[in-house]
Symmetry: C2
Subunit: 542 residues, 2 copies
Amino acid sequence: MDSFSLARKKFEVRFPDTLKVPTRLSKGDTPEIVSAKNFRKDIKTLFPITSGQSLSRLGECEKSPSEKFRVGVVFSGGPASGGHNVIAGLYEGLVALDCLGEMVGFLNGPGGIIHNRTTVLSATHVADYKNTGGFDLLGSGRDKIESDEHLKMAANTVSKLELDALVVIGGDDSNTNAAVLAEYFASKDLKNRVLGVPKTIDGDLQNEYVEMTFGFHTATQVYAGQVSHIARDILSSRKYYHFVRLMGRAASHIAQEVALNIKPNKVLISEEIYENKSTLSQVVSDLVDLVEKRSKSGKEYGLVLIPEGIVEFMPDVQLLIAELSDAMSKYSEEFEAASEITKKISLVSTWLQAQSKELFLDLPKSVQEQLIADRDPHGNVQVSKIETEKLLGWMVETELKERKSASKFNFQPHFFGYEGRCAPPTNFDANYGYSLGRTAAHLLVQGCNGVMAVVASLQNPPEKWQPLGVPLTSMMALEKRHGKMKPVIKKALVETNRKAFQELKRQEAVWAVEDHYTVFAGPHYFGPSELVDLIPKILELR
Amino acid sequence: MDSFSLARKKFEVRFPDTLKVPTRLSKGDTPEIVSAKNFRKDIKTLFPITSGQSLSRLGECEKSPSEKFRVGVVFSGGPASGGHNVIAGLYEGLVALDCLGEMVGFLNGPGGIIHNRTTVLSATHVADYKNTGGFDLLGSGRDKIESDEHLKMAANTVSKLELDALVVIGGDDSNTNAAVLAEYFASKDLKNRVLGVPKTIDGDLQNEYVEMTFGFHTATQVYAGQVSHIARDILSSRKYYHFVRLMGRAASHIAQEVALNIKPNKVLISEEIYENKSTLSQVVSDLVDLVEKRSKSGKEYGLVLIPEGIVEFMPDVQLLIAELSDAMSKYSEEFEAASEITKKISLVSTWLQAQSKELFLDLPKSVQEQLIADRDPHGNVQVSKIETEKLLGWMVETELKERKSASKFNFQPHFFGYEGRCAPPTNFDANYGYSLGRTAAHLLVQGCNGVMAVVASLQNPPEKWQPLGVPLTSMMALEKRHGKMKPVIKKALVETNRKAFQELKRQEAVWAVEDHYTVFAGPHYFGPSELVDLIPKILELR
């Protein structure tokens, strides 16, 4: 074993005191997430058995059920640090309650459930993988169990394995899928119950009960480390703007968190751009203003953070993308027939309305190509593939020329993403993942179904964290997906009225011109508590 | 002050015992670096005063000179971690010898010497910046002091400031420039002497005396951390090849070091490619073989490391670049007149010889554009701007299609560079930078001129490191630059007969098919000695 993992083995996970003894459920109110209120009736129709449950709190009791449970567990979607600790918490929780029959892991995501691909998890597995990053104990995958055929196959699998429960570790879509499975298995009178565990580095699975997902903290600490190194380079070389795009899909939580840690000169927040209806050229124009302002105080350098999903939030780009997708479907034959990319570009432009046409033709050629070349299987433009950090850099360059600006502007683009998903979990994510797993163990032996294991009060020390079971359907709304109304757990975007964003706004003007970059060099796994026991800023500012 | 810097302040730098007491020089043989032997006569002509010096060893003596010295210090070129510690070692070394008159720092690189832009360095500065990353205490820059006018201005500055010595902290070019300054000042009978300190993250300033530069260790530890996180992601998601390009200019030291740390499936070493005269398509073909081989054992994923300078080492690409540069100069009017990029590309292709033409036309369009769009002020193609990680990925994709291969291949490109230059120095770089600074202090008070401060025996604990003064001219050869023969310190490339490379070759076949990725998660600044007291693998394997 490598030296790091060996040393990290000595870390002792912390978890809620409540979970250190046998518990019983005390049912609370029937919760309903604000955003889900309007869909109460639809959800009741779609989930007649599992909806309408009340919140489960866990209170001390004398002894656990004497039953042994056979449990399956699966990773779903992109990896996030702390996942192995969820499994460790689940396993060790069941052992502590003397309720462990057998635990099987499904291989490579939900596809493993469909096709019954499993491995039996032992105490050795758990011990070896505890406190390690990644999902490599089982692998992960993005399959969804939605079609009748797949639902049947999944039911077959859990029946064959005689599972009492399935724990799905995943994001918003995977937890929606967990709810669908819970309802389906119940409707078929299977004994197998389904629990969800909230995972995602993006931080977009949040609500009144879910304060944060596991994996977010480690990812943002990795990015904060990289960005802080770059910030120091900026002050050393004093000749570049660094435009850093950060993973995180639609929501800007990651960019916001890294900004609160490192204090860049500017962080673009997609949700603010959307609220202000800012167009691409307005965003560029604001950046150019920043460059010119800094230039006047002799600073021809700076640090700008950009969330991955930003262009989707600009009304003019939204319109262009919609028109492009429509046009390329409508005239697909003509489009495919065009022999080469330059022809395709000029052809496509003739199909656009005046405003979109102008925007499209103003874009750099490589971005035009990205927009029409990469489409998903549904024919939609894949905005996430656009290298926004370069697009914005080029556009700032162009506008500075148009303004005949005296400011010097050279930029270096970066994209940080994959390296944040599988780092060894920070103490916070190690404790949090483990606590979620142990919460799931307790909910499971109490017979919960269609419930998410949640741990609340995360600003407190782990011993004081509050384990909860929150009905999955209470978080659900209906959304149009591929033309059909579907139940979904809504993605939580950055809310501009919350403390974290307000803090950014409060500092914005100062950070823009002064340079308050923080030295960070994390994540830290060893050393003083003020470095290793950090929690996400968004929780500190909750 | 941020929590990290506050905690890191407690780190106590270690340095050679030899430098803990006053020293005197004991002159050794007259050294001559092997690669420089053929140029002895030319160097003697160019550096009549400062060449032919012997090696300086430092031995204990009773007391320091009673003189006080006025010293200037400058950062030159790209930043590297440990630079602030060079200044700290120099300052505290002079204080310990009771020889500090005043120390001034030149601002933003050698330009600060030309234009006499300085700041006086105090004990507080030194204490505040000790053990921090970056060059932001003074800034840095890439100016060279070469023209008669600039040499005169530099002489003016050191005279005005009444400096006894100037310490240049820089890479190969900057140390060459230091030698030029040393000779020039001596030829003008100025009292100011010049010392060099070997810096660069690239590791390409190495020879019989210089075992490694400072900054290399921290940078490679940062990259190793990022790459190890990605390796864990690869095993979790099992669906991508990650192609990681690493900074490091021409030489492959950084890629080699990161590979020795993380054990990827493949690391391309430019110097090996050059020795084997491998063309671009051969390199691609080898990668495709690897992909197909792994695919046969069910692995549709992998990790490939790529050194920044790789394409310059392929004979076919070299030829293409040479022909392109020539053609675009020769037909520059016609080239500039072409209205748009597609026209320029087809125009340029007509000026190439058959072999280069075929290669050029086979390249993806965006690479064609990069090749003809970005030229340096001398009209040369800027190869470093080519995103080789994408180029290789695209070409592998294409060849797999041509082979009608059954292997799945999806790739994610990465470039890691700037984030490695300014991280807080590892213990090794903190100690090494500091020791170099203290060595410079001792050499300086002993009146050395045109000498590089060197610390040898770096595999040993810092207390046993050997401080040396190595004449700069002993490392020099003559090379054609911009059509003129110039004295240079030759860039040290990876030597395929050395242990480090041999170790890679020994493991190559195993790493290719099995997955031995190491968990790393560094650099570590706190924790057990086996994590914080690492030294570069290339030194371990020296």
